[in-house]
Symmetry: C2
Subunit: 171 residues, 2 copies
């Protein structure tokens, strides 16, 4: 059975929508997706570090479209792990697990990994929105499309634009 390592922020958890909300609150205008296309998150959202360190931030994101349904089905025929680079924000750990339990109740504690570097991860396929995670991974790689990675050249990784597309590829 193949093993899939699935990222959390930007792949399951819609942190981008939260960044846009908080940035609009702080700067008085909601940025459009066109405006932030190709812009690294650190540049697009001036106070992003503050948001990420806010208590409860990681308990609140909404769920990325179709991820629940598709991941539920993948979980029937693959070894699925949720792998989140979370130890940079120690206060987020319990919130992240509670968020997963709420929105992905079929994912057991055995399937959850909170790490710093993902270079320690062994799997057959990694789905992630950041090249820093995919570039060091020796297996197959899907780059989950996001404005921050929209203009990056990543020929080694297959760009996927939705969970529907992932379903088509894997189910």
């Amino acid at each position: 059975m193949r093993t899939i390592a699935v990222d959390m922020d930007g792949v399951l958890a819609d942190v981008l929508a939260l960044f846009l909300d908080l940035d609009a609150r702080d700067f008085g205008r909601r940025k459009t997706l066109e405006e932030i296309e190709g812009v690294p998150e650190l540049q697009a959202f001036a106070r992003i570090h503050e948001y990420l360190h806010t208590d409860g931030f990681f308990r609140n994101p909404s769920v990325i479209a179709d991820s629940q349904d598709v991941l539920y089905r993948l979980n029937q025929s693959y070894n699925v792990y949720i792998v989140s680079a979370a130890t940079e924000y120690p206060k987020s750990l319990t919130d992240k697990q509670a968020w997963l339990n709420e929105h992905f109740p079929f994912i057991t504690w055995q399937q959850i990994v909170f790490c710093g570097s993902k270079q320690i991860i062994r799997a057959d396929l990694m789905i992630d929105d950041h090249l820093k995670n995919l570039d060091f991974f020796p297996g197959e790689t899907y780059l989950f499309h996001a404005p921050h990675n929209a203009q990056l050249e990543a020929p080694r990784h297959r760009r996927v634009r939705s969970w529907r597309e992932i379903a088509t590829l894997l189910l």
Copy 2:
């Protein structure tokens, strides 16, 4: 540079001493190490699940002898990761990271992994006191000696009895 995955409970954190203390509090007598040699932890300590779910349990263990000094030196010449099966106890996550920050300040957040199953871990060497973690690991394995594993046959794994012994093998 070789990568080493180091377990936390029973290898860096002396949870056994805490189990013995709490068991003595609850049952009026402190068990000897001879008494629990070869006895699985679940049998040796009747209320172990309660202890593990107690708030703050994982913030309190003392440090296993010589682990700080030897791990500090290993960290100079290996890629060291601390890999703890922690997601079974979601409330432990923040405590575990705070404990590591206090006692192993040279270990960065990038080097910490909190997981459920360790089958997702890619490294060259794993140091652990539980066969359930070592048996599925494809690389080299050190079984860190503990009363609960003292009588297990584990010919594929090298039994190590102290951090001094690990230093001799790796430094």
